[in-house]
């Protein structure tokens, strides 16, 4: 069996197994599994409103997934997507509330600010990794907490006077679209989905079609060989983190300029950045895979909200299913071994 089919088959089987085990758990705890999945489906696609909400949720997932996947393809593990997202969110809203500009300037400026903030937040661990060999996992995890508390403080002191949230952003900086709202009965679907898809194409193009992308991947495969071949490993590590952080910052802009239109004090992480790790993993760290995986996770998350209402099943169950899917993807070795066994039998 070719590697390519295997790469596609593994996540698909993982998803099916996740759903299967999820079914068993539901039945074992005395819930109605079919009603649960029907409610899940209806909650995601039963109504244009919900479908709009699914796409709204998919948007930051794609970007967070791309951020993780990009770093991963170049041999780095960016756990700091969450923090980069939070600073991106703050930066976007900051620009959104404090300037008075025409839309053609204001909106791109707010988006760029978010991208720059995310990039900066990722530059620090990238630089430390390149110069001092500090492991990026540790630094990015720490930077998540720094981001959380620094943004909370900025919201309280700069963006408001001791309040819990900022003002709403100006209309000229908003990604919201009355057209989509009319189409989907007031869902919060916004233009950001196009930005996310463009970024996915961009990531594919950079990695697969440019010399720089080849270099970045080469550093990921084997640092020493790349250095021997005359590539600048240090610069490539920093560059990779910065691009990854840019995607994460844009994910924050989607939340700040699209979904919410403001930023508020957070008592904990949004979870989008961490889900991005799962999205990237399920998507096999490829652009198209990330888009598909983000779509799956987005539908699961939004659909799950409907489960307690329609079927009386706690929506935590969907978290369990998502966790199971990730478990099976992570243990893809078992699936691969199984597939191999089956195909070997075929040869005999």
């Amino acid at each position: 069996m070719s590697n390519r089919t295997k790469n596609i088959l593994v996540p698909v089987i993982a998803v099916l197994l996740g759903i299967l085990v999820g079914t068993i758990i539901m039945v074992a705890s005395g819930y109605d599994a079919a009603a649960g999945y029907t409610a899940l489906w209806n909650g995601a696609f039963g109504d244009v409103y919900f479908t709009g909400e699914v796409i709204r949720q998919v948007t930051p997932y794609i970007l967070a997934g791309l951020a993780v996947a990009f770093a991963f393809r170049t041999g780095l593990f960016n756990i700091g997507v969450e923090g980069q997202l939070i600073v991106g969110w703050l930066a976007a809203v900051w620009v959104g509330v404090s300037f008075d500009l025409p839309k053609v300037i204001h909106l791109p400026l707010a988006i760029l600010a978010a991208a720059a903030a995310g990039a900066l937040w990722a530059f620090i661990p990238g630089y430390l990794k390149a110069k001092f060999r500090v492991h990026e996992v540790i630094v990015t995890i720490m930077m998540n907490y720094v981001a959380l508390h620094v943004t909370n403080n900025v919201i309280r002191t700069v963006l408001s006077e001791g309040k819990e949230r900022s003002e709403n952003i100006a209309d000229t900086a908003s990604l919201r679209s009355p057209f989509f709202e009319g189409l989907t009965e007031y869902s919060r679907l916004h233009w950001g989905i196009f930005i996310a898809v463009i970024c996915a194409i961009l990531m594919w193009f950079i990695l697969e079609k440019t010399t720089k992308g080849f270099e970045l991947r080469a550093v990921g495969f084997n640092e020493h060989a790349s250095q021997y071949a005359g590539m600048n490993v240090k610069n490539n590590i920093i560059l990779s983190m910065v691009i990854s952080g840019t995607f994460a910052g844009l994910a924050g802009a989607m939340e700040g300029l699209g979904t919410f239109g403001y930023t508020a004090i957070k008592s904990g992480f949004t979870g989008v950045g961490f889900d991005g790790i799962a999205v990237a993993l399920l998507g096999g760290n490829t652009a198209i895979g990330v888009v598909l995986a983000a779509f799956l996770f987005g539908s699961l998350k939004v659909g799950a909200l409907n489960m307690p209402l329609e079927a009386g099943i706690p929506n935590e169950l969907v978290d369990i299913i998502i966790a199971l899917i990730i478990f099976f993807v992570a243990s893809s070795y078992i699936i691969r071994w199984f597939i191999q066994r089956m195909s070997k039998k075929g040869v005999k």
């Binding site: 089919t5 001791g162 819990e164 008592s267 329609e310 597939i339």
Partner: protein, 370 residues
């Protein structure tokens, strides 16, 4: 080989299909029966709530609101589910509007958003779903189809202050706040006023944990306070306060002869203070300052059912409305009789307006009991 591969995939899909299908049959039947029940209760008044990220079993706010909705449902013969009363949990801030909207679309007659964090979401959805009715607790949303609910937390914490002021022997009292906000300031001002009213010699040490969910910070603050001689600590800090209870229990266990009193908040937290020493049960909690979200939610639901939905208005629940109060006093407190008498006296005075309990630290400065 190709065929095998395809066969494997196919059989997997089939296997999954049969398993899912098998469940389907059972459940379709169940659905029909519940469907019938649903029809019987047509045209009933349906009420639902959306939790904030704390979840339905937070031992505080959301749980209390849900209790009120359950009571309302039982009294009116409703069943939990789509055709009676229900709740949706929010797992992140992004879920607030989706949840509110889902419930409004399911034709719930009244949908509550619990907690000030939901104010913006309620505002947005109320603007879109103009025919639906909403309630918001602990915040004010100015829309004609939203009823806002506020509490006079200061009155409950005033009574807690009275209890603390009379129970203390060292004249050192502690207050642990969650995050600085208007609501917690009402707790603080009321508590300080209550202590001042009965015990002018007592000192109150005020500390903020800057978090509602960090029990370890609560514990370390409590530890410092107790070790400096404080013998009564009141908290208005949600789950952070669980650290206070833990510290009080631990110290009591080590040194049963000394007093380490704590006062609970929101709901009656008596159960959190139980310590068993040498087979004998003790309780370190004097009482709790109650904030009856359940009473408010139930009251508002009843009003809405009767067609008197106070849309666009803000209802403030205080002692007089039974929206706040003090739980019963612990039997182990030496000054129990004294405390009960004083609490009763002040309750009357607050209810008939002889005393206005200060709700801000600014008002506290001008406060005095005649």
């Amino acid at each position: 080989m190709k065929k095998r591969k395809f066969g494997l995939a196919l059989s997997l899909v089939l296997a999954a299909g049969t398993i899912l299908g098998a469940c389907g049959n059972n459940d379709a039947k169940k659905d029909e029966t519940t469907g019938d029940n649903g029809k019987n209760t047509e045209e009933t008044f349906k009420v639902a709530m959306v939790t904030d990220v704390g979840g339905i079993d937070d031992k505080s706010f959301n749980q209390s609101a849900w209790k009120g909705i359950q009571e309302f449902g039982e009294e009116n013969g409703l069943e939990k589910g789509q055709d009676g009363y229900n709740y949706l949990q929010s797992q992140s801030d992004a879920d607030y509007t989706t949840n509110l909207n889902s419930l409004a679309r399911q034709d719930f007659n009244l949908v509550f958003g619990i907690g000030f964090m939901m104010a913006e979401a309620v505002n947005e959805i109320a603007g879109q779903q103009k025919d639906a009715h909403f309630g918001i607790v602990d915040s004010v949303v100015e829309q004609p189809n939203v009823a806002s609910v506020l509490f006079k937390e200061q009155e409950a914490s005033f009574l807690a202050g009275v209890a603390a002021g009379l129970a203390t022997e060292s004249n050192k009292i502690g207050f642990i706040g969650g995050m600085k906000s208007e609501v917690i300031e009402r707790f603080e001002a009321g508590f300080l006023a209550g202590v001042k009213a009965v015990n002018a010699d007592a000192n109150v040490d005020v500390q903020y944990a800057e978090a509602f969910d960090k029990a370890e910070i609560g514990q370390s603050i409590a530890s410092r306070m107790y070790s400096s001689g404080t013998d009564v600590i009141f908290h208005a800090a949600g789950a952070t306060g669980n650290g206070l209870f833990k510290e009080a229990r631990d110290l009591k266990m080590k040194n049963p002869s000394k007093n380490y009193w704590a006062i609970g908040v929101d709901s009656d937290q008596e159960a959190e203070g139980v310590v068993t020493i040498d087979g004998k049960k003790h309780n370190v909690i004097i009482t709790s300052a109650l904030k009856r979200v359940d009473v408010a939610v139930k009251d508002l639901s009843t009003k809405a059912k009767e067609g008197n939905f106070p849309g666009g208005e803000t209802t403030v629940y205080g002692l007089a409305e039974d929206g706040v109060g003090l739980a019963k006093i612990n039997d182990e407190v030496a000054a129990k009789a004294d405390i009960e008498a004083k609490v009763k006296e002040f309750e009357e005075k607050i209810k008939n307006g002889d005393i206005t309990v200060p709700g801000t630290l600014k008002d506290l400065k001008n406060f005095s009991v005649k």
